[in-house]
């Protein structure tokens, strides 16, 4: 019996092995090596002359923490987190709507999902057109009499709006993805529960808050965790919309852009030590936020 169990375990590991090896090679090893580099002095010149990293302790961390550009980056990345609750609320709400058995629902589900599979470079062309001075956004605001012709401006060239404009694109891109996850969660809720509640006279609002939301908590946790991590690591959108400059006036310069520009972005001048240290700090922020996420859901579970 014991032997059988052992065999079963071994077989399980054998199945896991290919994935584990690949992850070890391409995920865990880079993570550990990158973290190690954060404590070393290691530049392209060292790399080219075959010299290894030199241990410098906390020097890089001190440098990064005192670099105003990194501070700006962290601040902007934290602002970016505001997209998380909005994204979650909206995608859950829409998931509930498209979960109805009404005509054309498949069409809407596909429609909401299209941005997820649209290439960002392509989407950027459309969004740039929306955000420009003579663009759709200003045109709509003018139509609603919220601004006049003199009040029009390019949303990507104003340091007060650029980050929000790019956040809107992230929202648009992520929305369909989370909607599908919520939809899957919703479809796993037994229909009898809702029917029973309806018979007991619960309103749609009560059914949503008292049945759907509590049963969806695991999905909510997963989605908010995923989108928190995605928000703190945002890079693609920034590079596409600002050419990697994080402008105007560094208002869209995020923490990960700092890492990128210290390494891959300027490869022939790369400073892997500084990039590693900055990456480590961002990972710490990510860990802290994940912990808060878990903590919040666990407490709520305890209350029930």
């Amino acid at each position: 019996m014991k032997r059988q169990a052992l065999t079963a375990t071994l077989i399980a590991y054998a199945f896991l092995a290919p994935a584990l090896v690949l992850m070890g090679l391409f995920t865990f090893y880079p993570v550990f090596y990158g973290s190690y580099l954060g404590f070393t002095d290691y530049t392209v010149a060292d790399l080219a002359s075959g010299e290894g990293p030199r241990w410098v302790g906390l020097k890089n961390l001190q440098f990064v923490l005192s670099d105003p550009l990194f501070q700006t980056g962290i601040l902007n990345s934290l602002k970016y987190l505001l997209v998380v609750p909005l994204l979650q609320i909206a995608s859950l709400a829409v998931a509930v709507l498209v979960n109805q058995k009404l005509p054309l629902m498949a069409f809407f589900r596909v429609g909401y999902y299209i941005p997820v599979v649209t290439s960002i470079s392509l989407a950027a062309v459309m969004w740039e057109w929306i955000f420009q001075k003579e663009g759709f956004l200003n045109w709509s605001l003018q139509l609603l009499n919220l601004i006049n012709a003199e009040g029009r401006f390019n949303w990507l060239l104003n340091e007060h709006t650029a980050l929000w404009a790019i956040m809107l694109v992230t929202f648009w891109r992520g929305f369909g993805y989370y909607m599908v996850l919520y939809l899957a969660g919703l479809q796993s809720i037994p229909a009898e529960l809702e029917e029973a509640a309806t018979l007991d006279g619960a309103t749609a609002w009560q059914r949503f808050w008292l049945i759907i939301v509590p049963l969806m908590r695991p999905t909510l946790l997963l989605c908010s965790l995923l989108s928190t991590i995605a928000a703190i690591r945002v890079l693609e959108e920034i590079i596409v919309f600002t050419g990697g400059s994080g402008g105007p006036l560094n208002s869209t310069y995020t923490a990960l852009l700092y890492v990128y520009n210290k390494s891959w972005g300027n490869m022939l001048n790369a400073n892997f030590g500084v990039a590693g240290a900055a990456g480590l700090l961002i990972a710490l922020v990510g860990f802290a936020l994940s912990y808060i996420n878990f903590r919040l859901t666990r407490e709520e579970r305890g209350e029930r």
């Binding site: 530049t43 790399l47 002359s49 060239l157 050419g243 400059s245 105007p248 006036l249 300027n266």
Partner: protein
């Protein structure tokens, strides 16, 4: 018997391996458009040098990354196509073999225009062989309809001040922009180029940054005002002037493009009618009366295992015959000395593109690389651009922006 036979075959095999040196050649964004040219040049080279085989790889966005990675992995390519900033960065980080260790400097001086060769000199050593070049100002291409509508006579546009004045009139009369000057391109520090073109120094005689005199401030202010009045589009702060000019000109929303005549290839594709109408004149210059420009380089990494074959190939690709051939495929500026008199570079018809090519390709001796970039380039240029942007967005006065940029520059240039 068998043993002898075996020894002989092994010997023969290793001899043929010795005789055949394979080198790897990396270009930057040349495939697929110039496949034929590159392949035929390689074929010509291999014919002349039967012992050397060239493997060609075209790198694009990931060039710098791949080069660093290949060097680190011990699989360095032998000849690589870089540009001025990247040649400097690679040389500073000891990735490159000084060309002067492989070829005598006097030979190089005879083969290439000295102004271009000098672009790749760092600490007294040449680090790259000049390959194809370009002129930033190149020629002036214009939409005659828009100019006529605004009552602008092209003959009155002789310098950059005239260009700005004409742009204001064109904008007012037609709603289209005139000229789109580079003021803050994402790579490099474009506005320093504006100073240079107007004859204002970037450095003082001790090599310190000194671009905050009243004349510098006044020049920046002139462009800031132009943007404030929408004579030049604010979008120039976000997009490369070259890209934006292309887009707007093809749509009939900009009247003038100053730059390489290759720009017209895109116009030809996007708007053939406008292409047919487009007229060409020589480029108006700044007060300094010079054309700035640049050139690609061919470098040999220190980690290359076949340096003599590599340099032989690099010299072949960059020689006058091959650069002139290249110029006939696409209007690059040849950087090989003597190209201005090469019969291969005379215009062959009245097509605007043909005339532009003729005026352009033979003008390598006019390429002025401007000023030497400072060390610690990335940080310093970023700070400079941030300050210029702050001035354009009205968050700093022109004076404050330049004072701040100079202070940062002098504190951080290693």
């Amino acid at each position: 018997m068998l043993k002898r036979w075996l020894t002989a075959s092994v010997l023969a095999l290793s001899l043929s391996a010795l005789a055949q040196t394979q080198i790897e050649f990396w270009t930057y964004y040349l495939s697929p458009n110039f496949d034929n040219y590159i392949k035929s040049t390689i074929a010509d080279f291999e014919k002349e040098n039967p012992t050397i085989k060239v493997r060609w790889v075209d790198k694009q966005d990931t060039m710098e990354r791949d080069l660093t990675a290949a060097v680190a992995l011990g699989k360095a390519p032998d000849v690589v196509n870089l540009w001025q900033d990247s040649t400097f960065a690679a040389a500073q980080n000891k990735i490159l073999t000084p060309i002067t260790q492989l070829v005598n400097r006097n030979v190089l001086n005879q083969l290439y225009y000295p102004n271009v060769l000098d672009m790749f000199v760092m600490d007294g050593q040449v680090y790259g062989l000049p390959w194809y070049g370009w002129l930033d100002q190149g020629v002036m291409m214009y939409n005659p309809d828009l100019l006529q509508k605004a009552g602008v006579d092209v003959r009155t546009i002789r310098n950059t001040d005239d260009l700005l004045a004409a742009s204001a009139r064109i904008k007012q009369a037609t709603g289209a922009y005139g000229w789109l000057p580079p003021v803050k391109d994402p790579n490099g520090a474009s506005f320093l180029g504006r100073f240079f073109l107007e004859g204002l120094p970037v450095y003082d005689k001790d090599g310190k940054a000194a671009f905050n005199s009243p004349a510098h401030v006044a020049l920046l202010q002139k462009y800031v005002d132009a943007m404030k009045n929408d004579v030049i589009p604010q979008e120039l702060l976000r997009k490369e002037a070259f890209q934006l000019s292309n887009e707007l000109y093809s749509q009939g929303k900009a009247a003038i493009v100053v730059g390489a005549p290759t720009t017209l290839n895109r116009v030809k594709e996007a708007n053939p009618d406008l292409y047919a109408k487009t007229r060409i004149a020589s480029a108006p210059l700044g007060k300094a009366g010079i054309q700035t420009g640049g050139a690609m380089s061919l470098v040999v990494p220190r980690a290359s295992k076949n340096q003599s074959a590599a340099i032989r190939f690099a010299l072949f690709v960059t020689n006058r015959t091959n650069q002139v051939k290249f110029a006939n495929v696409v209007p690059i500026v040849s950087t090989a000395a003597g190209s201005e008199n090469d019969p291969g570079l005379k215009a062959k018809s009245n097509d605007p593109l043909e005339i532009g090519k003729g005026m352009n390709s033979a003008s390598g001796r006019l390429i002025n690389p401007g000023f030497k970039p400072p060390k610690n380039t990335d940080d310093i240029y970023k700070n400079f651009n941030d300050n210029v942007e702050a001035a354009f967005l009205g968050r700093k006065t022109a004076k404050q922006a330049l004072d701040d940029a100079v202070a940062f520059w002098n504190a951080n240039a290693k």
